[in-house]
Structures are given as structure tokens and as C-alpha cells.
Symmetry: C2
Subunit: 238 residues, 2 copies
DNA sequence: GAGTGGTCTAGACCACGGT
DNA sequence: CCGTGGTCTAGACCACTCC
């Protein structure tokens, strides 16, 4: 464990325990340097992580202010979670079923290029899957995987975890991903595949994932039903 | 302008111009130190910003990989933007109208505490406003402002920008905010206030904002109609 | 083994807040 | 004015990638 991570974890726990309730401020950097016997940069790095997380806010000349607590809502997903819907599973110990409803190969046309950002002519695996939680069809995943990078995909693999296959079996390293979130009217496919009940809209997360060589290898849309998911985001002043 | 910001901006421009197309890598840190005549930490800080933004990805032992470009979609809002719906205005030069439909004071009950996180008994201004863009009622804002901090609110101010009043007139410094995003069925208020057409769902952004003293001073829900907004988010491997 | 990024140190100077 | 956080430097050692 990195030194700065240890300091970060410790501070986080102390904030949580209410150790700083009197002042609602962190100790000054100088004090923390003394306390953890490290350089100022290391303390600052730990504090940066707390700032990124929205737990504290730093004011030049005054100190690091602890933000008032907010009610925690256990049902939240963080959009930054790497494994999207898998996170639901691990966090909340609900297991879900996956049904593959389409599995084929496509070549990227101009229209698909607009949607996916893959270069025109790229060959991709196209997969439609439905995620069923407690017998409710909650999420429709539409995947486009670049076959040049993700080869040997089968319907069997798609039933389990494609990411596990990509990372563990193919040894592809995943670096980073960009996501969009929007609300749209339900398509015919949505209505057929999901338990929308009376609703006629879906939430859509679009996800572009890159290998550690900087190549786009996946575009995925996850269509989810209303009332079930929420996403968190933080923002800090400029 | 900070040194690291200059380096960041320069690198970003060069990436955009395709200056690094041959390798799809940034120059090594050592080269950049030379080029910008600065310390390694400063270069690293500039690169961190590019990583945070999802433009590049760093691999230990190899270098900093530039990620393939993604189609840009002009209609995107960044959830991290501080001013929420105001951003729409400035980015896209559409001006919008604001209609105040309710303006009153409330005391936080147990139920409202669950929703807003304000302590029970706190006095707040409660405001409902509709944002009309191109004659379409697109967003319903429901605000709760802590009167202890945001005093002297009037309906006149609510018609314009409450944030401008808070920051410029009251001199309250805003530090940070947390946001949630979810999709829910439309309430009766939504149906009455928004041009939902055939849709029966809304997107909801919940926003908790803090002063630079760490006090929660605002809770706001923005209900928006489907098909009009999208939000961006980045995630990088642990 | 050479070269790369990741962590950490010790110290300097500046800008801002509160008194 | 003093104490605070913000920026920047110069150098050290480690862990990883690639040849």
C-alpha cells in the first residue's frame, strides 16, 4: 500500500468517525507531515484524493474544510465503476441472469461509425443481451466488440462475463473508458426486451472502452428501466 | 496562468492537431522537462490533467499513450459543470426563459430531511421554476435554499439567476457539490409543468451544494424531459 | 539492461485568510 | 503580521516494459 493511500484511508476514517467535529477542519499540512512522518507532497496527495471524492474542500489561507455529511443511499451506482452492471451484483449480492438474444458479426458502416466511433470497415461482434434481476428484465446491453482485438467470442462467453474473457483469457489490458448518459424514448427492441411496464422511456449509458495501447475496442449501450438505478457524480469549483 | 496549465493546454492542442500521430504517444517526461524547462513534477501534473480528462492513458515502463479519438457530440452537457442548466445557455447560445411557479418557505421535516439532507427544523426557501427553451418547457427546477445562508431571496431574483445573487450579492463562496442522476416516472407536477408529449418519464439530477465553510446550503432537483440532454463521464482503471 | 513512469523527499517562494 | 494552502524545484529510488 502506498504511503499516500494509507494517509488518505486514515483521514477518511477519522472524518467518518467524527474525530474532527469541533473544528470541521483537517489538521494543517504541517501537522500531518509531523504525524505521518512524511513529506508535504505526500500529505497533499492524500488530501487531493479526499477533495476529488467530495469529502473535504480546501481554502487557501484557511485550511481544509470538512463538508457536512449527506444521507447515504445504498442503491446508488457510481458511473465511474469500471464494470457497469456487474457492480450491481457485487455491491448488493443480488445475482442476475443473462440472456443472449442476438449474436452476430457486423462491418462498421458510415451510420454505425457515427454511433460507435469505430473506423468505417472495422469488423465487430454485435451482441444483444438482457440482464434479468429477480425475474425482472432490467437492462438491455448492446455490445460492439472489435474482432481484431477481441477474437474468439462465443455465445457461451457472452452468457457469462465478456470482460473476464477479455482480461483474463485474451490478456487484453483495459485502460480507460468514456461514458455518456441520457434518457430517450423506448425503441421497439426496448419494449420487447425489457419489463418497462407502463413506462415508455429508458435510461441509456453509452460506453467507449480502450485498450492500454490506446485502441477503441468496445462500444456498448446499456438500456435500463426507470426507477431502479441512480448514478453519482461530484464537481468541484474550477 | 500556472506553468502546469500552460503545459497541459499545449499538449492538449498538439494532441488535437495530430502532432503525435506517428507514435500515438506523448514525448517522455524527460523530454518534456527539457522542452518546457521545468521540473518533472510539473510535467507530471500537466499529464495528470490529460489523464483525468480521458485524453491519454499512462502505462508504467512504456509511456503515455494517446487514446483514439471519439466522435464529438455537440449536444453533450458535462455533469461536472458547475452551473447545471446555465451551461446549456453559454455553450449553445440558446437563451431561455424562466417561469417561477412556486415560491414559499418551508421547515425541514423528517421526510424532507431524508430527501434533502438538511437537518430537521432547518428553514428553507422552496422554489419551483420551469426553464423554457425555444418555447418548449424542458426543465423543472425544484430548489431548497437554507435561509440562514441564502437570505433575502425574492421572486424577482428567482426569475434571473439565484447563483449570481448568492455569489455576487451575498458574497457566499460555493465550494463543491454532489450530484445524482436517475430516471423516474413523471409525477403529476412534472406532467403539468413540462412538455413531455407522449413520454411518461423524466431524468432527474439531484444536487447538493456546499459553501466554502462546508455547510450544505442548497438541495435542488432538476427534472428534464427525455431526448434532449446527455451527460458525460470518464472512468479510469483503478 | 536501458528506459520509462510511479512514489517520495526536502526545501523554496508565493498568494491568500484572519488577526 | 503570521499561518495557511498553492506552485515549483532537484534529486532519489523503485517497478514495470521492452529488447
Amino acid at each position: 500500500m502506498n504511503k499516500f493511500s494509507v494517509i488518505y484511508e486514515t483521514l477518511k476514517k477519522k472524518i467518518d468517525q467524527g474525530d474532527y467535529l469541533q473544528t470541521m477542519m483537517l489538521p494543517t499540512e504541517a501537522v500531518l507531515v509531523e504525524e505521518y512522518d512524511c513529506s508535504r507532497n505526500t500529505v497533499r496527495r492524500a488530501i487531493s484524493q479526499l477533495i476529488d471524492e467530495g469529502l473535504v474542500y480546501s481554502v487557501k489561507g484557511r485550511g481544509v474544510v470538512i463538508l457536512e455529511k449527506q444521507n447515504t443511499d445504498e442503491l446508488l451506482l457510481n458511473l465511474s465503476n469500471f464494470n457497469g452492471i456487474q457492480a450491481l451484483n457485487s455491491n448488493q449480492k443480488i445475482d442476475y441472469q443473462t440472456k443472449v438474444i442476438k449474436f452476430t458479426k457486423l462491418t462498421i458502416t458510415d451510420e454505425l461509425h457515427q454511433l460507435t466511433s469505430f473506423p468505417i470497415g472495422t469488423e465487430v461482434s454485435y451482441i444483444e443481451r438482457v440482464r434479468i434481476v429477480n425475474e425482472k428484465r432490467m437492462v438491455l446491453d448492446i455490445n460492439y466488440f472489435r474482432t481484431e482485438i477481441v477474437s474468439g467470442l462465443t455465445e457461451e462467453i457472452a452468457k457469462k462475463s465478456i470482460y473476464h474473457y477479455i482480461e483474463k483469457d485474451l490478456g487484453v489490458k483495459i485502460s480507460t473508458s468514456r461514458r455518456h448518459l441520457k434518457v430517450e424514448g423506448a425503441t421497439e427492441l426496448d419494449t420487447l426486451s425489457l419489463d418497462l411496464q407502463e413506462y415508455n422511456c429508458v435510461g441509456i449509458i453509452s460506453n467507449w472502452a480502450y485498450t492500454d495501447m490506446g485502441k477503441l475496442f468496445e462500444y456498448t449501450e446499456s438500456h435500463f428501466i426507470p426507477d431502479t438505478f441512480a448514478f453519482v457524480e461530484l464537481s468541484t469549483k474550477r
